[in-house]
Symmetry: C2
Subunit: 170 residues, 2 copies
């Protein structure tokens, strides 16, 4: 690979989609979908911003900032990354100032299962006073859970009965 | 709260279990189980170390290091944190050198559902050549999936039908 002597110049020469490649990936040696997911949402605050968008209906910079008390430069960086990676769409809501709604796409929304899995783990192991929040099924008010199951035999699968094997994308 | 003028001195005065509190939490204002989970496993490499332990049978420092190409100081820090938080147990395997197996506890193993959810998302959105790895049910060789379901009505629940409400630990 070409040695990068003028990294800033090189950045100007590559297409937008290759920027993250040139900047370097945290888990560059990992060909793994979990690692790839963490490249996109593994930075501080990322998943909590998605959580706020998905389960608290937040769409605006000021709403995320007030809700999360996250530094503005970090929030800007995360939202722009989500837009670049297709997790959110940016929609201008003001004709005057350049103000935007950041709206989850299907790709962003589907991180909900990751957030529910993290929450379930935290509820079980790190919530001595009980769950701070509960997920409910809007249609019947039942508690929402997450489970690992076998798509062939249909049973719930304990983690000790799960093996990982090379797939087609190896 | 008392202002910390001599943080290093203060560290010496507190019990081990309060160290992370004094060092400061990333998501200090968040009373949320997902945030609490991310306090423990949200740092770079954390979930990939757990993945290697759970699905690749790694237990030793050298194994994690070779598999992940992670800097030794970071690996040391993560493994010690996992032991402190009860995700792993440290078992000496050599009578000579101080060498340890790091073995997942139930608390650590149950992060498997988070890893499977992350992998499923990455497989769907970030694996153009197909999944690099596949999870299989050891008993019947079926594909393992993760699903969000309602514990009352039993149906699979789409994320748009999930609401978050204050729980007892709020």
């Amino acid at each position: 690979m070409m040695q990068v002597i003028y990294p800033n110049l090189r950045l100007c020469l590559v297409s937008k989609s290759r920027v993250s490649e040139v900047l370097g990936r945290t888990y560059a040696s990992e060909n793994c979908s979990a690692a790839r997911a963490l490249e996109i949402v593994g930075e501080r605050w990322s998943l909590l911003i998605i959580r706020d968008a998905l389960f608290r209906g937040r769409t605006r910079f000021s709403e995320f900032e007030q809700s999360l008390h996250v530094a503005p430069n970090i929030l800007t960086s995360r939202l722009e990354r989500f837009v670049a990676e297709g997790l959110m769409e940016k929609r201008r809501y003001s004709e005057g100032a350049e103000l935007y709604d950041y709206v989850l796409t299907d790709k962003g929304r589907e991180l909900g299962s990751v957030i529910i899995a993290l929450t379930a783990w935290g509820d079980r192991w790190e919530a001595p006073n009980g769950p701070p929040a509960e997920f409910k099924h809007e249609e019947c008010d039942g508690a929402v859970g997450i489970n690992v199951h076998c798509e062939r035999c249909g049973s719930s699968v304990s983690l000790s009965a799960v093996g990982a094997y090379p797939g087609p994308g190896r």
